[in-house]
Amino acid sequence: MTDPDRAPEELREPDHPSFRSRGAAVRDMMGLTRGLVSAWPTLLTFFAGLLATLGVWMLAETYPRSERNRTQLATANGMRQVLEVRLNDHLRGLELIRDLWTRFPSHEPAEWKARAQVFLQQHPALAMVAMVPDAPTSLGATAGASPSADLALFDDGPAGRESTELVARAPGVSEWKVGRELSERLREARRRAVDDQRASLDGPYLAESGQGFYQVVVPLQDQDRPAGMLCALLQPAPLMATLIREAAPDYFLTVHDGATQVYAQGVPPRAADGEPQDPNERIELPIRLLMGSTWTLGLVRSDLFDMPSSLSLGKLVLAIGLVFSVLLAGVVHLGQVARVRARALAIANRELRSQIVSTAVAEGRVRRVNESLEARVAERTRALDEVVNELETFNYSVSHDLRSPIGAIVNFTSILTEDYKDKLDAQGVDILRRVAGCAQNAVTMMDGLLTFSHIGQQSLTPGPVEMRPLVESVYAEVALAHDGRAPAFSVGALPTVTADATMMRTVWTNLLSNAVKFTASSPEAAIEVGSQPAPEEDVFFVRDNGVGFEMKHATRLFNVFEQLHPTPQSKGRGVGLAIVSRIVRRHGGRVWAQAAPGKGATFYFSIPKVAA
């Protein structure tokens, strides 16, 4: 970490206002879009669908009708043409039969009749054809002959000159019964035609036997003079039936002559309730016949296969279109919502991902900072250990290396004192003694420092230590070291502690040594060792009735450096108490003292109880 102090600043990034507002903006946007975005496309789709529906509806309303009308018109035209051609063919054919008589004046009735029979076969709508000339034919035999029963129709023919010889009947056509009144109308029509010298088609008539028919009258001329007529009976309905029955099954078809319906075919359209037949649906075409007659062909589509009006195509289209529009709009709406949500989700995901990344980055930084902190702590600790180690080493080597030469001074001054005392005067001996004393002090001090330093480096080897035997043993040694001077000594009951035995010996040695030393001037020296119970530690004390000291110096007694500059109060105590303090503290205990000048001193130390 090149700049570790910056790391904590960077770590605050997730809490940065801009960071937080970015997330909030995303959430706001999501809410906003859910409310608004999907409305316009949905409405647009709905109206577009509605518009399309209306268009389709209008097409459905108009296109089929025109299409149907066109078909209907074509059908009607075709029929009209067929009927017109075929009917006129019949009428024109009559002129041919007439010409057969007038242009071939042989007037052979049998031949004409034979030809007329063939003609009738070819023109099925004609039921009968008869020649009624004014002049007597060459077949005088026939003239004046009574009309046959077959010609009862014409028995009152003009001028009574009808000849039965010139009558041809279609096969299967038997007698038609015609009432008197109809007979009169027929005659009247014939007369009118002859008078006008114009071919006529009159009718329709209804025979008493039920046949509907027309009477066709073609006047005859002989050298521009009226010369009789040709009569024919036209029965159009069967012909029309054969002609158009198969042609227009979907239509209701009528043929009117004026107001009279001549022919009808198909199923008439149902008149809807209160709904008049649409006049557009009905097509009427004229059938122009020769001889000035015009019939009318009426064609209307049978609604056999039409929809019921309540379920008309237009309404169906409208309904389906409406439903479809709504459905489409719904789909669009859902799609819009899904799209918007997907987008918002994607944004949220991206945001989340970046947050995760940021978090990961932040965590990485935290981890790195922690690691670097740990590394730094470890490094500092190592450095500190090194410093301490160096100090201890320095302390030890200085003490040790100084000790030898100063020890040598001690030794050589003692040799001087022993062997050359008589060669010095009193002052010389005194100086020598002072040199030896100073050197001895220095050696004692260095021994203390060496011990002090050594204790710091030594590893603890804890074990059970019985304090009372130890104290007694140490006191014996100490007393020996002080030339057997023995103050009154008492030891109370002491517990066994868990500690480093060697170090405990050092502690007692120093404390007892001090006690002996500082009671040297007391007339009734007494030293007491005891212990005080405490819950978590064992407290030991060494009490003497020696010179004591002022309490303000109490803490300084345990400081090794204070002892390097001895005050009169602490003079001679050396570093012993500092060593005691160091050992006790290494065991987790504490040291303290109570004293007053001239009233002795009590030194306490505690050793923690080891948890069972």
């Binding site: 020890g407 001690v410 003692s414 001895q440």
Partner: protein, 142 residues
């Protein structure tokens, strides 16, 4: 008994001087051989008949091979296994003392610097080991 020898292993000339002074002052008859480091001491012990050396005074802090190593090798060698070795050191540290005894030292003497008793310890030790004690030539039964 002039052949009885003391091998003094000591690199400090002051200490040597004091030791020699003390021996002369007390008029001891033992011949003292002095070497300045551990390697010389080992060489000396290899070169001579082991029986010629009755006592070794061994300093701990020395150049080349230190006192502990010398002690270890002496005790590993059958010929020098029983030769009394008195460690003479300025250290009064308990673990130093304990280690020396563990390595096979017979005594541990802290160099005392006392104005009144310079070199006295040496006289006491020599008396003890060379006059009072009887050391077998070998630990193996005759």
């Amino acid at each position: 008994m002039s052949t009885t020898e003391i091998l003094m292993v000591e690199d400090n000339e002051d200490d040597i001087a004091v030791a020699l002074w003390a021996l002369r002052k007390h008029n001891l008859q033992h011949r003292v051989e002095i070497v300045r480091d551990g390697q010389q001491a080992l060489d000396e012990m290899q070169a001579r008949h082991a029986g010629d050396t009755k006592l070794i005074l061994l300093d701990l802090k020395m150049p080349r091979v230190d006192g502990r190593e010398v002690l270890r090798r002496l005790r590993a060698d059958e010929r020098t296994r029983t030769v009394p070795v008195v460690v003479v050191s300025s250290s009064n540290q308990a673990d130093d003392i304990a280690e020396c005894y563990r390595l096979g030292a017979n005594s541990y003497v802290c160099k005392r610097y006392s104005a009144a008793r310079a070199g006295e310890y040496l006289i006491d030790v020599v008396h003890y080991w060379l006059s009072l004690n009887r050391i077998p030539e070998s630990t193996e039964p005759a």
